[in-house]
Each structure stands twice: as structure tokens, then as C-alpha cells.
């Protein structure tokens, strides 16, 4: 499978490269990997990373070593909706364990797992920097805050509805 950015994505890549002085386009690797992950199914395959390397004129290893360091990059396929539930101190004090357990019971997936239909991945994460709104999770670009079991139900429903609309 050959990997190619859309014209729109290439525009964005060019905009990002312009953030840096001439010859420093290596700096763009982190934002461009975000973009690549978004473009190519929510995770980074070796082909995708090689494509990023060639666009930025880097050696593939320079991209791999970055992709393997940062926790927001997925190196294996994931579900369409990823529940990234914070479990660090302040969220724990406000019951994040109960939320994780509830998602586990409701969807039958342990942290790190994906539902059989490929819809949901449960991921426990460390501090998202929204401790005053605990317990929280990240879903896509946004945070869902003050989580309760009812809110988790509503979020799952919302994802299913959104998926049904897209099909």
C-alpha cells in the first residue's frame, strides 16, 4: 500500500515547515506525525512513517525514534474512538478507577484493548492537565470532564450515533 498525503494535508505540512528557519524542517516531524496519524486511520504504520521521512527529507530512523518516544502516537491499529482515561493522583482521588472499571464492564475491554467491532479502544493515560475537572478522559481533540457512569453511557451512545451517521 502506498501512502500519500491529500493535497489539503500537504498544504498543512507546508504551513508547518514554514514555522521554522530554513533547513530546520526536522522540527516539523512531531506536528506532521500528528497529521499523518489523523490522515491514515488513526495510527502510524512503517509506510506512513517512511512517507513522513521522505516529505521532511529525514532518514526513516529519525522519524521512528520520535514516533516511539511520544505517547500520543499509535504504532498499531486502534479503535475508531479512543477513550483515554486519566488515572493519575488527582483523577484517582475523584474516582477514575470506577470510571475505568465501568468502561471495562460496559464494553468488555481492559486498558489497551479494542472492541471486536473496532469501534472503541480503552487506554489509561497519565495526567492530562485538567485535574480540577476530574475524572476526565480525552476523546479525539477534546476533553470530557467530570465523568460519571451516566456521562460514559452518553458518550458511548454519541460515538455510536456519529458512526451510524457516517456510514
Amino acid at each position: 500500500m502506498s501512502v500519500q498525503f491529500s493535497d489539503q494535508a500537504m498544504q498543512e505540512v507546508k504551513r508547518i515547515i514554514n514555522f521554522y528557519p530554513e533547513g530546520k524542517q526536522k522540527s516539523a516531524v512531531i506536528p506532521v506525525l500528528h497529521l499523518a496519524q489523523q490522515e491514515f486511520g488513526g495510527w502510524l504504520s512503517v509506510e506512513t512513517m517512511d512517507c513522513v521521512a521522505s516529505i521532511l527529507n529525514l532518514k526513516p530512523i529519525e522519524v521512528y525514534e520520535v514516533a516511539t518516544f511520544y505517547s500520543m502516537y499509535y504504532l498499531k491499529p486502534v479503535g475508531k474512538y479512543i477513550f483515554e482515561v486519566c488515572q493519575t493522583g488527582p483523577c484517582m482521588l475523584n474516582g477514575s478507577d470506577d470510571i475505568i472499571k465501568y468502561i471495562y464492564e460496559k464494553l468488555g475491554i481492559k486498558p489497551g484493548g479494542t472492541t471486536a467491532d473496532g469501534m472503541f479502544t480503552l487506554k489509561t493515560v497519565e495526567c492530562l492537565g485538567a485535574c480540577g475537572y476530574a475524572p476526565i478522559m480525552q476523546l479525539g481533540k477534546n476533553y470530557r470532564e467530570h465523568l460519571t457512569k451516566e456521562k460514559v453511557d452518553a458518550i458511548i451512545e454519541e460515538c455510536r450515533r456519529s458512526q451510524a451517521q457516517n456510514n
Binding site: 516539523a28 500528528h34 488515572q87 492537565g129 480540577g132
Partner: protein, 457 residues
């Protein structure tokens, strides 16, 4: 009601937009600096203000700027650290989300002072929606002549770019942040050379926290001396405190560093007391890295004085009986919370976030996490408590960057002040196990042994 300098306008409807922000007096500091002051004069005002870095270390900002090398023909950079990731800290997010132009204004004024024509905001990757808010504010500022070439006819050029991280606490450490900004793994650099001499792309660089840069705005508007009049001693001006945990009103509060810890926790103006009619058991007042204190030592220093919300008072007594202001991430534990479990979640955090460069940190954080989990799950031995103490001592001070210290301090303080709770876990394994959910690593809070130092309610 304390005076506010950063968040005084945050509730003005539409303050996120340029027109409103400008109408409310925004961008005056840029006008004043670029039209009436030399870059050195701006730095001088910041020195006079006594402003200390708000990211956690508390280093004097004016001095940091003064140390910047200025070789001919080499660009200088201002990098704003918006990689807010310290557990308990969410103040910069609030500031950027609700009053983004304050940060942009502060960056322009600060860039002028240090001579940076290209300034970066390095923001943690998870704050994806805030990138849009900041880029919108930058575009508005540019469209209104506050960014670009020859700003206000002063001959000063400045552009601001937002760079997103991708999930790594370590990138909040300034040299790791620079590595990341250069498109590499976030491995901290050995210092010296300091960023002031060799920073971004080997050029002289100032790295400052979001709140620090925002504070430059009122300092230039009102003068450094006026700013220094607020607060006590070397804790001048205002500080954003993000309060969370078991309190009635979690949130971000701007305090003028003249109030006591007790007032901060119990006053309705701030945290509003402990939630659900519980009592105060312990608190980590400066982000997860600083030592936890039990209620009695938190409210009163070992000398018997009322503990104040200042850098000096929070640190009073050293680590034996004191703690630190840190980043202002104020985490409150009520009397149903288990210190062992809470410390375990922090140890897990540091193990996850260690970059792996230095052996004491890479290995030590993993050991501390495993031992704490064992104790929490009723599988610990009495000797494990001493082993834990021994490991944290071997991690502290033996690493390139302060993450090692940050991982060691919470463990040390938990044992120092709550040793009986660790011993309770060892002595009551059935109680620990019975409360386990059966999902590896997710245990229910264990009721702590009663202590004679609970406060409040």
C-alpha cells in the same frame, strides 16, 4: 478579596477575541515597551518586579533574561513552555483557553526585551483545541499590526508559532523541550551549556512558563516596583493556583501571596473547604513532585507559625517539615484517601514519564512503582518500606534532569509523614486484598489508620 493582575478580565464576555481584549486595555504593554522603552529597560522592570519563574523552579525571571548571551549575528529565541503536565497543575491551560491574548501580548513584549524575532509556544499535544485558540489569537494580533515586520514603526520584527508536543511530561523540562522543538526525542541535555548560551538550534534561548510571560504584561503596564509591592518578601506579585482533589470548589485561583494556606482551603473565595463534609488529611501544594504534608504541618509550620501561600513559607522547615510552592498545583486529600495508593499513582506516573536516559531514574522509578503496588495490594513486607526509602535516596540528585528528584520526593515525603499507613498495609494484607477490584492495578481506597492530625470540618 485579593487584587488580580492576570485573571481580572477573564470573566468579561468575549475577552478571548481581539476587539474586546483591546477595548479592555490589552496590548498597552507592547505600545509602552516598543514606543518608550529600550529592550534593556524592559528587562530592568522585570528585575525590579521580583518575578520568579511560575513553572515550578521559581528562578528570578529578570536574572534569567539578563544571563542571555548576545553574540553578534546569532538569532535569539524566546520559547514559552506550555507543556503543562505536572499532576495537579492546570493553570496555564485556563489562561490560554480563556484569555489567550494576554499570553500573546506578554510574548511580544518579552520578545522585544530579549531580542527574539521568532518566538515559539511549545504546548502539550493533548491540548489540541487550545492550539486553535492560540493560532486564532496570533492571527488577530498580526492582522492588527502587533506582529510581523517593523511593529508600531519601532523596527522590531516578531512572529509567534505554536508547536504541539505529543505526550511526554519530560518535555516540560526546558532542555528536553528544546530537543522536542528540534524534532527529536525529549531527552534532557546536560547543563552547562545552559539554554541562555546554547539553546534552540544552538542559539541563545530563554524558556519561560506561560504564567511568567503573562505576568510581564502587568509589570510593564504598572512598573516593576508596583508589582513588587504585592506579596510578602521575595514572593512578589500574584500566583495562579490550580486547586483540585477533595475540595468543594476545584479551579484556578489567582492569589496575591498574602493569604494563609488555611484561608485558601477553607475560604469560600477559594477552595470552599473539604468536599462531602470530610476532613483535611493531607495536601500536596505545588504539583505532584513536591512533598506531601499532613494537615497539621500544612496549616502550621514546625515553628508554630501560620503557614502562608508564599514560596518561603511553604518551604519553611525544609523537606523535614515543609514543602514547596512548585507550580501551584494544589492537591487536597480528604480523610478517606489512602496515601499509599495516591503515592503509587504518582510513582506510576513518573515511571511512565521517565525518558530512560539515566539509569537511576529509569530503573528506580520502576522499582518504586512495583514496591508501592505490592504494598498497596497487601503483598508488601516491612523491609519494603526501608527498601523504598533507600531507592528514592539513590534516585534523588543522581540524574541529568530534575525528573529523578521529582519522582523521589513524593515517595520520601509519604514515608516520612505517613509511615504508619504503610505499616498498616503490611500488617493487614487481607483488608488490602479484599478491596481489590480484580483488575490488575486498580484497588479501592483503603481506609487509613486514624491519625491525630486531621483538620477542619
Amino acid at each position: 478579596m485579593g487584587r488580580k493582575l492576570l485573571l481580572d478580565k477573564v470573566n468579561v464576555p468575549g475577552i478571548r477575541e481581539y476587539e474586546v481584549y483591546r477595548r479592555e486595555g490589552g496590548y498597552r504593554s507592547v505600545e509602552k515597551a516598543l514606543k518608550t522603552m529600550s529592550p534593556d529597560a524592559v528587562t530592568e522592570e522585570v528585575k525590579k518586579s521580583g518575578l520568579r519563574g511560575r513553572g515550578g523552579a521559581g528562578f528570578p525571571t529578570g536574572m534569567k533574561w539578563g544571563l542571555l548571551a548576545k553574540p553578534e549575528g546569532v538569532p535569539r529565541y524566546l520559547v514559552v513552555n506550555a507543556d503543562e503536565s505536572e499532576p495537579g497543575t492546570f493553570k496555564d491551560r485556563y489562561l490560554m483557553e480563556y484569555i489567550p491574548h494576554l499570553l500573546i501580548e506578554g510574548i511580544i513584549t518579552s520578545s522585544y526585551a530579549i531580542g527574539s524575532n521568532r518566538s515559539y509556544i511549545y504546548i502539550r499535544g493533548e491540548f489540541a483545541w487550545i492550539v486553535d485558540i492560540l493560532e486564532q489569537a496570533i492571527t488577530e494580533a498580526k492582522n492588527n499590526g502587533w506582529l510581523g515586520k517593523n511593529i508600531l514603526g519601532s523596527g522590531f520584527d516578531c512572529e509567534i508559532y505554536v508547536q504541539r508536543g505529543a505526550g511526554a511530561y519530560i518535555c516540560g523540562e526546558e532542555t528536553a523541550l528544546l530537543e522536542s522543538l528540534e524534532g527529536k526525542r525529549g531527552n534532557p541535555r546536560i547543563k552547562p551549556p545552559f539554554p541562555a548560551v546554547k539553546g534552540l538550534w544552538d542559539c541563545p534561548t530563554v524558556v519561560n512558563n506561560v504564567e511568567t510571560i503573562a505576568a510581564v504584561v502587568p509589570i510593564i503596564n504598572d512598573g516593576g516596583e508596583e508589582y513588587a509591592k504585592m506579596g510578602i518578601g521575595k514572593s512578589t506579585g500574584t500566583k495562579l493556583i490550580s486547586a483540585c482533589g477533595n475540595i468543594k470548589k476545584p479551579g484556578v485561583y489567582e492569589i496575591d501571596m498574602t493569604i494563609s494556606v488555611e484561608e485558601f482551603i477553607y475560604s469560600d473565595e477559594y477552595c470552599g473547604g473539604i468536599a462531602n463534609g470530610r476532613k483535611l488529611k493531607a495536601c500536596i501544594p505545588g504539583g505532584s513532585s513536591v512533598p506531601v504534608l499532613p494537615a497539621n504541618l500544612l496549616l502550621t509550620t514546625a515553628k508554630g507559625e501560620k503557614r502562608m501561600m508564599t514560596y518561603e513559607s511553604l518551604a519553611d522547615g525544609g523537606f523535614a517539615t515543609g514543602t514547596m510552592m512548585g507550580s501551584g498545583g494544589f492537591i487536597v486529600l480528604d480523610d478517606t484517601q489512602c496515601v499509599v495508593k495516591h503515592t503509587y499513582t504518582l510513582a506510576r506516573f513518573y515511571r511512565h514519564e521517565s525518558c530512560g536516559q539515566c539509569s537511576p531514574c529509569r530503573e528506580g522509578t520502576g522499582w518504586m512503582e512495583k514496591i508501592l503496588l505490592n504494598i498497596e495490594n497487601g503483598k508488601g513486607k516491612m523491609s519494603d518500606i526501608d527498601l523504598l526509602w533507600d531507592i528514592q535516596r539513590k534516585v534523588e540528585g543522581n540524574t541529568i534532569c530534575p525528573l529523578g528528584d521529582a519522582a523521589a520526593w513524593p515517595v520520601a515525603a509519604a514515608i516520612r509523614h505517613f509511615r504508619d499507613e504503610f505499616e498498616w498495609h503490611v500488617n493487614n494484607p487481607e483488608d488490602c486484598l479484599r478491596r481489590n477490584y480484580g483488575l490488575a492495578g486498580y484497588a479501592d481506597p483503603v481506609p487509613p489508620t486514624p491519625k491525630g492530625e486531621l483538620a477542619g470540618a
